[in-house]
Amino acid sequence: MAKMNMLQAVNNALITAMNDDEKVMVFGEDVGHFGGVFRATSNLQQTFGKGRCFNTPLTEQGIIGFATGLASQGSVPVAEIQFADYIFPAFDQIVNETAKFRYRSGGQFSCGTLTIRTPYGGGIAGGHYHSQSPEAFFAHVPGMKVVIPRNPYQAKGLLLASIRDDNPVLFMEPKRLYRASVGEVPEDDYQLPLGKADVIKLGSDITLLAWGAQVEIIEKAAAMAEEQGISCEVIDLQSILPWDIETVCSSVEKTGRLLINHEAPLTAGFASEIAASVQEKCFLHLESPICRVCGLDTPYPLAHEKEYMPDHLKTFEAIKRTVNF
């Protein structure tokens, strides 16, 4: 075990994957010699050469189209989009090409080895072009998997699993935690299963569900609620698609209440999908309406960032409202 922050854990996962399989290639804007604007790809070019870790021209649609073709040839690309806010020029490639590659060819061709890494999320004074959480757009695309880690240990295990999964995976990294989240990470190769949620804390009165950087927010709210005698079960969804409905529903059947928190705007956010599915499966177990604590339905603001965020206080208030319904 070694102490790592999330960036070091991502870097370590990439080194592990590149050592393990020479078909793994890492590329994107500034990821080469410089090691990426966040330094997630530090020293990869120096270690593995320019053929396997390289800068691309500044074109997101090019990066993902290139990566999709490369994956279909049998290589294992790990493409970086510098900020999730800048993934949209590649939307056509991801939605119409990457995600449908296997389906449209009747399984003859596949780009399942592709992994797209991208930092996402707010809390860094980034305004609306360096703060967005676009996971719900991609969760709407059949054929893509979407994965989000909450800490360095999860980041390494989930990234290795994403790289080796035989489906294209969008791996979204909570950049607010890149240096802030530090923890013990095994230096060996390990994987954490995709499609599985992680129950972080057991409780009996309400289930709190989040992913990425918002997990620590619901943990903080849970601690506040505990002081008032409310017992919270805390779950990190980890995989947005496919998502672990079994773990979430068995928790809700026990607690009778569910609160979902995400940074992205409320309307058509992924919480909406979870709420719809959970009420179908758990209707008779529910003791209060499923509650969503999310970003406002506005672009991500700069000056009003603090007010916009679904923080621990908003979550705490929502827990009380839900429990006292």
Binding site: E29, N55, L58, A303
Partner: protein, 394 residues
């Protein structure tokens, strides 16, 4: 129906002859030599003393502003800054060749063009401190300026998006019969985005009076231009799209001024786009989040420091007898003090009241945004200490 022949006047060959890369030689217009003297064969642009001094003052102003704001970021007073050191001639020289009614669509390193248009120190500071006086209402990161009054479109961080928009804006100017063009600034890195190709091609096909002004400064953050493209810069692409093109020394303000003047004339007279590639160098870091020591040498930077565009132009102005050194020193000192004063004032101004958070999302806020605002205000009232920037004014 018109009878078309898309083969046109293509000649025929009868042996395989693959055209080599780099056959077209695109020279660079230079009027002033690096030491500030005029090339003996150079055509000097028609430029008034007043205009020349305004260009020099804007260059000096921007350098002072950049220095001060990089320091302010280091002190933690603003979250982010992006200097244009080394590229002042490109942005200010081109802006000077335009008319106030011409639209400017910039990338994010064109504060020189904005200052030339008349953006005040107070307006710069209000933007960078995201306060309630800011024209964009504090919604974007520092340096994302915009001014409807000055025909300067609000900056967007995503790269290259303004390029096809400039084509559209220019088409609208043409259809409205205006005596105006649109200038669109971007870097050589942004020219790799699909939007560049889409935008320039559309401007060419639809005869849009747009000036595409590429600042080829050698780097896109850490990526050097040789890893950005294999062709001959950006100018060669203009030719490929059927767009009139010129390459200029971006550190020579007179060359930039001449080229932009000519481009504006052509764009208006022929109702067509023109592409200018200004060869320059980003002496500054990409932004305050960047550290260039990780990707380029000090020696390389020093070589470009010797081509300082401000000094080069100042030397020429001095030789013309237009420079009053005492007055210029006074101007610099006054500017320095004005920048400091406005910085201190702007950082004291509060951010917009919370009601602004739902405004301008739509023309008027729909029911769900009103409901979300009401809920938010109730919440802030309950925890006023947690939201100190807005709770005081509820």
């Amino acid at each position: 129906m018109k009878d078309r022949n898309h083969l046109g006047n293509i000649g025929l060959i009868h042996q395989v002859n693959i055209i080599e890369n780099g056959l077209i030689d695109i020279p660079m217009l230079q009027v002033l030599q690096p030491d500030g003297s005029v090339h003996s064969k150079a055509d000097l642009p028609e430029i008034t003393e007043h205009c020349a001094l305004k260009i020099l003052h804007t260059m000096q102003y921007i350098r002072l502003l950049d220095e001060r704001m990089v320091a302010a970021q280091r002190q933690g007073r603003i979250s982010f800054y992006l200097a244009c050191t080394g590229e002042e001639a490109s942005t200010i020289g081109s802006a000077a060749a335009l008319e106030p009614q011409d639209m400017i669509m910039s990338q994010y390193r064109e504060q020189g063009a904005l200052a030339y248009r008349g953006f005040t120190t107070k307006e710069f500071m209000d933007q960078m401190f995201s306060n309630q006086n800011e024209l964009n209402k504090g919604r974007q990161m520092p340096i994302h300026y915009g001014s409807k009054a000055l025909n300067f479109m609000t900056i967007s961080s995503p790269l290259g998006t303004q390029i096809p928009q400039a084509s559209g804006y220019a088409y609208g100017q043409k259809m409205a019969g205006l005596d105006a063009v649109t200038i669109c600034y971007f870097g050589e890195g942004a020219a790799s985005e699909g939007d560049f190709h889409a935008g320039v091609n559309m401007a060419a096909v639809l005869d849009c009076p747009a000036i595409f002004f590429c600042r080829n400064n050698g780097y896109a953050i850490s990526t050097p231009s040789e890893e950005q493209f294999a062709g001959d810069g950006i100018a060669s692409r203009g030719i490929g799209y059927g767009v009139r093109t010129i390459r200029v020394d971006g550190n020579d303000v007179l060359a930039v001024y001449s080229a932009t003047q000519a481009a504006r004339k052509i764009a208006l007279e022929h109702q067509c786009p023109v592409l200018i590639e200004a060869m320059t160098y980003r002496l500054a870091a990409h932004s305050t989040s960047d550290d260039p020591t990780g990707y380029r040498s000090k020696d390389e930077e020093e070589r470009w420091r010797l081509k300082d565009p401000v000094l080069r132009f100042k030397t020429w102005i001095d030789a013309k007898g237009w420079l009053n050194k005492e007055q210029n020193l006074e101007f610099i000192e006054q500017t320095r003090q004005e920048i400091l004063k406005e910085l201190k004032l702007a950082e004291q101004v509060p951010i917009c009241p919370i009601e602004q958070i739902i405004e301008d999302v739509y023309d008027t806020p729909p029911w769900h945004l009103k409901a979300q605002l009401a809920e938010l205000k109730t919440h802030i009232k309950k925890y006023p200490e947690a939201y100190p920037k807005t709770s005081g004014r509820l």
